[in-house]
């Protein structure tokens, strides 16, 4: 069993009370990352409970009933402070907009989670700088979110989500405020970088093209899961090649083992050299120039 496993069993949640109560989740069960990192799209019409499910899975909202377990540990058994620490250390978040702190330059926005975790500022900023350079934002380190384009701001948000080397990244409509080509490029980068870091991705989206880029699509309606489809390996294997040929295209990306191009090693993307990165993922430092080239093409496309 993979260590970065998120398991939800029998989740229910309701907004409001009495006659005004509106069910948001009804007996939802799913497991993410059981067999390794995967990109999961959660789709459904407005009000179907997508965002609620994301918030419950991430420990932001407590379910009315049911259980969420991360690496085998029930989130409900943790104190509020522990859950907060868990969100900082094990989870990453990318939202539609407004997630970056407007007063902080890009590098400090990315370094903040590490500083909150106790890393010294110099070390945190070194790791943040490395990651931002890797995501093609080397010239933007000192820029504040208001001075960045929408695509650049989302790449900073992706860097911030990944800097703590999370086991899972939650994204809520991450391309909702972007135009199509920028959105596709950001989505490619988000999937590629997240899986490359050995983490799973859970993305809430209305957009079928965004969902088509993921290896698994969970559909919700009226708070219930109505379908849970995994894409075939064949389709997934074709992804990076498609992405390379058309960087802004909506190509499906497979799970981590199929992340690399056919015929290359399936090692995850190298991580920034920083002490806070877990030894458990030390295999991530295996270099892969071809995959980096693909990654670079995505970065170029999102500029």
């Amino acid at each position: 069993m993979h260590t970065n496993r998120l398991e939800a069993i029998g989740l229910t949640h309701t907004y409001g009370q009495g006659n005004a109560a509106a069910p948001a989740l009804a007996d939802v069960s799913l497991t993410i990352g059981a067999d390794g990192p995967e990109a999961v799209a959660i789709m459904g019409p407005s009000g179907s409970g997508k965002s609620t499910l994301l918030h419950v899975l991430a420990g932001i909202v407590a379910p009315a009933s049911g259980r969420v377990a991360w690496r085998g540990r029930d989130l409900a058994s943790m104190r509020d402070g522990e859950r907060t620490k868990l969100r900082r250390s094990d989870f990453g978040f990318v939202f539609q907009s407004g997630q970056l702190l407007p007063e902080l330059p890009a590098i400090e926005n990315v370094a903040l989670p590490l500083m909150l975790g106790g890393t010294a500022r110099t070390g945190a900023e070194a790791a943040a700088g490395t990651l931002l350079h890797r995501l093609g934002l080397g010239e933007m380190l000192g820029r504040r979110p208001g001075e960045l384009s929408g695509g650049q701001a989302q790449r900073v948000a992706i860097a911030r989500a990944l800097v703590g080397s999370p086991g899972i990244v939650f994204a809520d409509e991450p391309t909702g405020a972007l135009d199509r080509s920028t959105g596709d490029a950001v989505m490619s980068l988000l999937i590629g970088a997240t899986l490359g870091h050995g983490a799973s991705l859970v993305v809430v989206t209305h957009d079928p093209e965004v969902a088509a880029m993921c290896s698994r699509v969970v559909r919700l309606q009226d708070g219930r899961i109505v379908s849970d489809e995994r894409r075939s390996d064949e389709r997934a294997d074709a992804v990076p090649a498609t992405a390379h040929a058309a960087p802004s295209g909506a190509a499906p990306v497979g799970t981590a083992p199929s992340y690399a191009l056919p015929g290359t090693a399936s090692a995850p993307m190298p991580l920034p050299q920083h002490p806070s990165y877990g030894a458990a993922r030390s295999e991530a430092h295996v270099p892969n120039p071809l995959r980096d080239a693909v990654q670079q093409s995505w970065i170029e496309a999102s500029r």
Binding site: A24, S51, T52, T84, F91, L101, P102, L104, M115
Partner: protein
């Protein structure tokens, strides 16, 4: 349907919110402070008119009371601005929805202004009652060798009405200024203004009166009379308002560069982002502390029992106390408004795992930094300028100790008042946005 009718219907449908109450409280304190200060000026004027005091000293005291009132007016204005921000807080969505439904920009603006003015009206009424309630307490203070009477401290009705109208007009002006900054489109597009750059002319504008003061008063190079010296001191004190934001931004930059803790980094960056706003909270207190520093010299310069010198020291102490109360209310209200303004940021921080104490600590440091720099800088400038008379000043221990204690007390009360906004951080950060 006119904007007024629509506003009345919506107000009935939604009822008052916590921010409306806070906004009305801010207007109430602004009104009460204004009326209390005007009451003092009225009392001095009545005594002068009735010939109960020496005409020269009486006129000078009235002038000084007006100067003290002028020192406090920026705090009243800032308080009204903070109140308006609270009145308009989180109305963007509603206003945007109205624009989508076909309301014109003028109708939407009218409704927003009506929100602010309605709360100001409630605040004016409550503030007038508050001023009446504290008048017997103020009457215990002795000036010009005589205790005040309640009758002296109650100005004519037209002054009350004018003060109320001034607060309402301030609310109107602040609301219109806020709406000019926030252009409400049908899509409710929020725009973030860029970082404020502060011009270096502020240094020159402070250095010139400072240089004249040093040459004329401290070094006595040019013989001048007392009223010119007092006017010069008043100009130096008011000019501090120009250099204050620059000083705060400079120190905040140094703090941000050296910050090791996330809360300090966040607070320093927020202060750098809006140094004028940061100074506005502490500005009145800073200039009051600076003026108080000069005034504390008065008893040492006069004879031991010179009532005029004692009056100046008492007046300065009173000004610091009022500025302290206004500063404390302002800090609590302004920080509450900021927390509401930054709702999305607080929610984002909560989701990404920022501990609540870190967010709350950042909020307190956001006030503490400008408070210490602004008030500390003002006290430092005052000490520097009275350095030539330092030994003399030090010999008047009572007024020095009173000044120091009031300054420390005002700073402590302001920091305490900031704590009022802390529970709001948790409420705002943990508010669910999922659907």
């Amino acid at each position: 349907m006119t904007a007024l009718l629509l506003w009345v219907r919506l107000a009935r449908a939604t009822g008052p919110r916590a921010t409306d109450v806070l906004s009305a409280i801010a207007f109430a304190f602004a009104t009460a402070a204004l009326l209390a200060v005007l009451g003092g000026v009225n009392a001095f004027q009545v005594r002068l008119d009735e010939g109960r005091v020496d005409p020269f000293d009486g006129e000078l005291i009235v002038t000084l009371a007006l100067v003290a009132a002028a020192l406090l007016l920026p705090a009243v204005w800032t308080l009204a601005q903070a109140a308006v921000r609270l009145a308009l807080a989180r109305r963007d969505d509603r206003l945007a929805a109205l624009r989508l439904a076909g309301a014109t920009r003028g109708q939407v603006s009218t409704m927003a202004v009506l929100d602010a003015v309605a709360q100001a009206l409630v605040g004016v009424v409550v503030g007038a009652m508050l001023a009446l309630a504290v008048t017997p307490g103020i009457a215990r203070i002795e000036f010009q060798g005589l205790p005040f009477t309640v009758a002296e401290l109650l100005p004519p009705a037209w002054i009350w009405l004018a003060a109320g109208a001034a607060v309402l007009l301030t609310a109107l002006g602040a609301a219109l200024a806020s709406l000019r900054r926030v252009h409400v489109t049908p899509l409710g597009v929020a725009q973030r203004v860029g970082q404020q750059g502060l011009s270096l002319w502020r240094i020159v504008a402070f250095a010139i009166p400072l240089g004249v003061y040093v040459a004329v008063v401290a070094l006595d190079l040019v013989p001048v009379d007392v009223s010119f010296s007092i006017a010069l001191i008043a100009i130096v004190v008011l000019a501090y308002s120009l250099i204050g934001p620059l000083l705060i931004q400079l120190v905040a930059r140094i703090v941000a560069r050296a910050a090791r803790r996330p809360a300090t980094l966040l607070a320093a960056r927020r202060v750098i982002d809006d140094p004028r706003g940061a100074f506005n909270i502490v500005g009145a207190m800073s200039v009051a502390v600076m003026a108080g520093g000069f005034a504390s010299l008065a008893p040492a310069l006069g004879a031991a029992d010179d009532p005029f010198a004692v009056d100046i020291a008492t007046g300065a102490a009173l000004t610091i106390a009022i500025a302290g109360v206004l500063g404390a209310v302002l800090a609590g209200i302004a920080q509450s408004a900021k927390v509401l303004d930054q709702q999305r940021e607080h929610q984002a921080m909560h989701r990404m795992g920022v501990d609540m104490p870190v967010m709350q600590s950042a909020l307190v440091r956001q006030v503490a930094l400008p408070l210490i720099v602004g008030v500390g800088g003002a006290a430092g400038v005052a000490l520097l300028l009275i350095l030539p008379s330092f030994m003399l000043w030090w010999s008047s221990a009572d007024s020095v100790v009173t000044w120091a204690l009031l300054t420390v007390g005002a700073v402590a009360v302001t920091l305490g008042a900031t704590a009022a906004a802390l529970p709001l951080v948790k409420r705002v950060a943990t508010a669910s946005t999922a659907a």
